[in-house]
């Protein structure tokens, strides 16, 4: 079965309202779209991709029970937190991980090699996702960042803290989950501390400390292509002031303008990592200075769109459609 030219592939779970918003926005633009979850592959999704001996590029066919696309006619890929491939139950247990890796690498590498617009390409995401590298890039791009120490040495941490001469924060260096048996899912928010609280347990692994940045408010800056959606997050509780993810009920949202020099720095950061999306977190000090905390190159935006009615889904559709850069 053929497919209209120019499909956008939306690779996401079915139970994903954020992906729903993007699919709806694409439909309103009459952009042909095929949505599927990687978890449907290989049992309910057919892939047949071929590569010639002397011409670069995959061609072929990708089909669900309801839709089919030619790979060479794909317009863009929106890859948003899909599930992992689910292997048929008749595959013996010892072969299941192998089979899953074959399905995963096969599908994602073929789609990832298509010369089309991608949002949240895994390779781009991975290159941009980590805080230590981001601090260097952000500073090189002209953004102010907190003074930071990454260490597993108590003596070095204490000496550095003495130089800071004020409160500190500690936050995870990298993403990693902590699952406590019998406990609900957890997050590890940023924690404010005094230098006197430092102890030997920081020598058990690498730690990332920063100076505490006084905040008038924080900003979640969502960048989609060349569009910026800047929203102040006003924290109305002590927990939310340290990390607004700790207390959503205490938050108020307000669109705010981005200073030109900050917008320029963000554009340079996007270009540095070849990003077409970024969810940036800034503190804005009482003096009005914007301080870069981090960028999540695939961060959530539905909560901002819902609170502010900003057209972030429409911006996604525009970019995937090819209407904006």
């Amino acid at each position: 079965m053929g497919a209209p030219h120019g499909h956008v592939l939306v690779v996401a779970e079915e139970l994903d309202p954020t992906a729903d918003l993007v699919v709806q926005a694409l439909a309103e633009r009459a952009v042909p779209t095929m949505r599927f979850d990687l978890a449907r592959f290989p049992q309910h999704l057919d892939l047949a991709a071929q590569h010639d001996g002397d011409r670069p590029g995959w061609t072929g066919h990708l089909a669900t029970s309801a839709r089919a696309v030619r790979l060479e006619e794909v317009r863009a890929v929106y890859y948003r937190r899909p599930g992992l491939p689910v292997i048929a139950p008749e595959v013996p247990e010892h072969y299941r991980a192998w089979a899953q890796s074959q399905a995963l690498v096969g599908m994602v590498q073929v789609l990832g090699s298509l010369p089309v617009v991608w949002m949240h390409h895994p390779d781009v995401y991975r290159a941009a996702a980590h805080k230590p590298g981001q601090l260097v890039a952000a500073t090189a791009c002209g953004l102010r960042v907190p003074r930071t120490l990454l260490t597993n040495s108590l003596s070095r941490a204490s000496a550095w803290a003495e130089g800071i001469n004020g409160p500190l924060i500690v936050k995870p260096v990298a993403s990693a989950s902590i699952t406590i048996p019998g406990a609900p899912p957890t997050i590890l928010p940023t924690r404010r501390l005094e230098p006197t609280e430092l102890d030997e347990s920081l020598e058990l692994t690498a730690h990332l400390f920063q100076e505490w940045v006084p905040k008038a408010f924080e900003v979640r800056l969502t960048v989609v292509g060349d569009q910026m959606f800047s929203v102040a997050i006003h924290a109305r509780s002590a927990e939310a002031e340290v990390d607004w993810r700790s207390d959503y009920d205490a938050l108020e949202y307000e669109p705010v303008p981005v200073p030109d020099h900050v917008a320029d720095g963000v554009c340079r950061f996007q270009a540095h990592y070849q990003l077409n999306y970024g969810a940036y977190d800034f503190a804005v000090t009482p003096a009005g200075e914007w301080v870069f905390f981090e960028c999540n190159p695939a961060g959530q935006w539905q909560f901002i769109a819902a609170a502010t009615k900003l057209p972030i889904a429409e911006a996604h559709a525009s970019l995937l459609q090819g209407a904006i850069a």
């Binding site: 996401a12 779970e13 079915e14 139970l15 994903d16 309202p17 954020t18 729903d20 918003l21 699919v23 709806q24 439909a27 095929m34 990687l38 937190r81 899909p82 991980a97 890796s101 995963l104 690498v105 994602v108 590498q109 895994p122 995401y125 991975r126 500690v170 995870p172 990298a174 993403s175 990693a176 989950s177 902590i178 699952t179 406990a183 609900p184 899912p185 957890t186 997050i187 590890l188 928010p189 430092l198 102890d199 347990s201 920081l202 058990l204 692994t205 730690h207 990332l208 979640r220 993810r245 959503y248 969810a279 999540n296 695939a298 961060g299 959530q300 539905q302 909560f303 819902a306 609170a307």
Partner: protein, 85 residues
């Protein structure tokens, strides 16, 4: 929000202060995936995502579970190579 109490011995300094993740309880009887429109819809055909719903920066694809970390820095992305290295 409360802090989860766990034993401190052997716990790295930066791993203290775990909190329950902000999760969103949903009623699956209130909507269904429409394979034609490729979105979740309410019985009246309206877009489920446009109904008032709690939302956060964490796990807003509503499938948080043990082993599927809710931290927004822990997007459950599948990276080719990680599983086969």
């Amino acid at each position: 929000m409360s802090t989860i109490t766990v034993e401190r011995r052997g716990v790295p300094f930066g791993a203290r202060g775990l909190q329950p993740a902000y999760t969103v309880a949903i009623d699956p009887s209130g909507f269904a995936f429409d394979p034609g429109r490729q979105v979740n819809v309410a019985p009246d055909g309206s877009l489920w995502a446009e109904t008032p719903m709690a939302a956060s920066s964490t796990a807003t694809n509503n499938d948080t579970s043990p082993g599927n970390p809710p931290d927004e820095q822990s997007d459950p992305y599948a990276f080719p190579g990680d599983l086969v290295a």
